[in-house]
């Protein structure tokens, strides 16, 4: 809307670097949008951490109740790995920092051997739970913004 009867509804002679304002004609809401977008990475990271922490703790509890996995349950984790280009997030599900005397166990249980069939906990978790984890992260992000 024009500020004065004979004035244009927007001004184009103000320098662009003065930032958005009603007078310059740049919608002020853009400034809020930019601020909002700036918070996305940190809110997403926080939500992802909360959901993954919950997933890891539930999985460890489940593994503790399994005779085969009991000894290595506390080493189950989800870690972030760099994708090489630095702009993506790749998550690795598995057993990490397992001490040398138990280091054979994760692979042995995952793929099986001549005596025992594969229990495949990691692969089954990824196939069964990954969608839930992704969905939960989305919900958590919404909660944070709410």
């Amino acid at each position: 809307m024009a500020q004065y009867d004979d004035a244009p509804s927007y001004s184009f002679d103000l320098p662009v670097d003065r930032g958005p304002s009603l007078l310059s004609g740049t919608p002020a809401v853009l400034a809020y949008a930019f601020e909002f977008v700036k918070t996305l990475p940190s809110v997403f990271a926080q939500a992802a951490n909360e959901v993954l922490e919950e997933h890891v703790s539930e999985s460890r509890e489940r593994l503790e109740r399994d005779d085969d996995y009991q000894g290595i349950a506390k080493y189950y984790d989800v870690v972030q790995v760099e994708d090489g280009e630095g702009d993506g997030v790749e998550l690795d599900f598995g057993f990490f920092k397992v001490p040398p005397n138990l280091s054979h166990k994760p692979l042995e249980l995952e793929v099986g051997d001549a005596i025992k069939p594969p229990k495949a906990f990691v692969r089954r978790t990824i196939f069964k739970k990954l969608d839930d984890v992704v969905e939960d992260i989305g919900k958590k992000v919404n909660q944070h913004y709410a």
Binding site: L107, V111, G112, D113, A114, I115, P117, P118, A120, R123, R124, F127, K128, D131
Partner: protein, 237 residues
Amino acid sequence: MPDRAGFLLAEDQALKAKFSGIQLVDDRDTTRDVQVFFRYPEGETEKKYPFITLEMLDINHARARQHSEQNIYNFRGTAPTGQPDDHYATDDAKSFTYWPDTTTDVSTLVANGAASLPFVSALEHVPVDLLYQVTTFTRSALHDRALQSHILTKVAPFRRGYLAVGIDDSQRHMDLVDWRSADMVDEEAGFKKRIFRKVYTLSITAEIPASNLAGIGQVTAQAEIAVKDKITADVLS
């Protein structure tokens, strides 16, 4: 061998067929057969390297492929008297021709208490993903590499893998989702010999019927109306 009918039975048979018949070439034998077993062969079975084992790991409800609940229909072939054939086309989105792991022609199945009725109906099948582990065991690095090459290019290539299930003539998606090395030492040889082992993880699409097949009759003024009762007729028995 005749095609085996039944959920998992049909897929198992198809997967075994897919990995059977592989021959490796080396300086001693130009047609070295690669045997295929379900699970690691028992002690009584003489193991001839190289060989392949198949194991099912899991069955997951494929929620991404699940539609809202709806009925699907099939027409048996002859339109009821006085009705034009084109009212009974079976080529729309809600028509179905096969029954998972059972037949290619659902109209040949006897419907639930209504074998002579012109239409059959069912709830849409439930999509699932079957997770399989395929493991190759070889004594030499050359066999290991040759098998790996064959499987990755001919049997389960990335992006283009498929599984032909004979009994219902369906072509399923068969995705290679992971492969890794897992070499081991041979217990039976006193831990003195190496076994080269590769582990492939495959995801295969399948469907499970959600309801019984039911017959649907034409509504007429006098005739008995044989519309199915969803509560009693659809429940899987």
